[in-house]
Amino acid sequence: MAISLPTPALDSPAAVATAAEGKGYWRRVWERLRTDYFTLVVIAVLLCLVLMAIFAPLITVYDPQQGSVLRRLKGVGFAGHWLGTDEVGRDLWTRIVYGGRYSLLAGTLPVGLALLVGGLLGIVAGYRGGLLNTLIMRGMDVLYAFPSILLAVAICGMLGSGFGNTVLALTITFIPPIVRISESVTTQVRGLDFVEAARTSGASTLTVIRYHILSNVLAPILVYATSLISLSIILAAGLSFLGLGITPPNPEWGVMLNGLRQAIWVDPTIAALPGGMIFLTSMCFNLMSDGLRQAMDVRV
């Protein structure tokens, strides 16, 4: 598992140069993506997972929290429960479908929040430079001193479990790498001639950042952020697996994996199912990120 944060390569002038070519950029990205059938299939699978999570009540007739003690740990193919039942007799397929709600949200929400906060901090640090840059970047160095799992576990372990604290912990975990990458690309773009030209022609700082910096740093930052989603899913489920994230009896893949752990002695297949979903989802996000990176022609 990529428990490590993907390492941002800090020398990506190529990324900046390509992104700087201007207007038709997103259109060219789409044209490249459109012919990359593999990535399109991956995105379609992800869309299916999302739709399944959203329309969970339409897909399955069971209640994700309601089980029957009489039907505990039935194997795959049991009548009425095609994926079997869990340790308290809840329908496993139902739990997996509903579990996608938490797992997908816990995978994307922290990355989105970290993108907002970290992107802003990084761009400001890169654009302003000087003391502000030093303050922000040294602050991030301190957070970097914690391996990502350790930081997430420390925050959740101290503040307590729950969805909110999981999202908070993961957001804080992902802010430093996003700040670092945003700062480095912004610093590169800031030195380019057109930014200088905009500034001398009297554009305000906000305008320069909005029109000239943001449009050029967005692609590499976005690509990097998408590469964090799979890690976020794995970590969120991992926290729940440890009992520090989402709490039982809520259906969540990590929670389910923890509950079914003892079931490997009875039926290894059903014990492996929730983890398989974590793997599938995280793999799809990784492949999508790789595809986007190629389409956006960014080396992050």
Partner: protein, 313 residues
């Protein structure tokens, strides 16, 4: 060279200081304190006050921090609320057990990762590239705690070849019975560095191969094996930095695999401390793991500068 090492060393001091501040802050944010954990809510107020005074909890926050920092400076990591034993001895024996997993896993993961990455890069676009790249991406996408469970299901439950949990007799493994306990957790842990390292090595080697000096080396008639050496040397520093990070992650992030395998390491200790609300053990473990991570990064940076003179700015 020495100036670089010294500068880098000095750089870690404010970082370690910041780490201690964050750990202390987290402890402060924790709901309840030692007194709430040790005595029932209906305990008489004077008992509570005495206990709080004994732990120094009646002092202002900044005094508590200063006192804690001063004790840390002399290597006093505090006393466990739960067992009333000094944290240091418990923590360091647990760390030893963690290293017992992390070092072989790192070694295995790195060698596999480098081998797969190189093979993929030198066979770009052909089937070994596709195969090894697929393995690598699976490696970075797998939730390794789940892999641990699956391995236990296969090798302990179905085949009954290896033990499912624990570390057996403990200590440095000398017998086959002890090594058996290591196999599954080490294999599980090594997946992470394998995937990450092979992806980076592939990308790096490809980039190096595309540079003009490689063509020059070929053109002047250098044997392919010698060219390989040049390429490796150029791709090495980045891979090395990543390996350092990965080793740090294996040590600091061991909590998941140690929970799966019931391994008595630092991650297991942390898990226990969280559920016991044992603040001294928890804060000391987090602090020491982060400090180890910082130190590994320091060593890697220095090692990188030794290999690649361009880094010694």
């Amino acid at each position: 060279m020495w100036a670089f090492a010294l500068r880098r060393l000095l750089h870690t001091i404010p970082i370690l200081f910041g780490v201690s501040l964050i750990v202390f802050l987290l402890v402060q944010l924790m709901p309840g304190d030692a007194a709430d954990i040790l005595i029932p809510p209906e305990a008489p107020p004077d008992v509570r006050a005495a206990l709080r005074a004994a732990f120094g909890l009646d002092q202002p926050v900044y005094v508590q921090y200063a006192l804690w920092l001063r004790r840390l400076m002399v290597g006093d990591l505090g006393v466990s609320i739960f067992t009333n034993q000094p944290v240091a001895s418990e923590l360091f024996s647990a760390l030893g057990n963690t290293l017992l997993l992390a070092l072989p896993a790192a070694l295995l993961g790195f060698s596999l990762g480098v081998a797969l990455g190189m093979l993929a890069a030198f066979n770009r676009g052909r089937w070994p590239d596709r195969l090894f790249s697929a393995i690598a991406i699976a490696g970075v996408s797998l939730p390794h705690y789940w892999v641990g469970i699956v391995l236990v299901a296969v090798f302990a439950v179905i085949l009954n070849w290896l033990p499912a949990q624990g570390m057996g007799a403990g200590g440095v493994p000398t017998s086959w019975a002890q090594i058996q306990h290591l196999i599954l957790p080490v294999a599980t842990l090594s997946l992470i560095p394998m995937g990450v390292v092979s992806r980076l090595v592939r990308a790096n080697v490809l980039e190096t191969l595309s540079q003009e000096f490689v063509a020059t080396l070929h053109a002047k008639g250098l044997r392919p094996a010698r060219v390989l050496l040049h390429v490796t040397r150029n791709a090495a520093p980045a891979a090395l930095a990543l390996m350092g990070l990965q080793l740090g992650y294996l040590i600091g992030g061991s909590i998941l695999v140690e929970t799966v395998f019931n391994w008595p390491g630092s991650g297991g200790l942390m898990n226990l401390a969280i559920f016991r609300r044992d603040v001294p053990v928890l804060s000391a473990t987090i602090l020491v793991l982060a400090a180890i991570f910082v130190m590994i990064n320091l060593l890697v940076d220095i090692l990188q500068a030794v290999i690649d003179p361009r880094i010694r700015r």
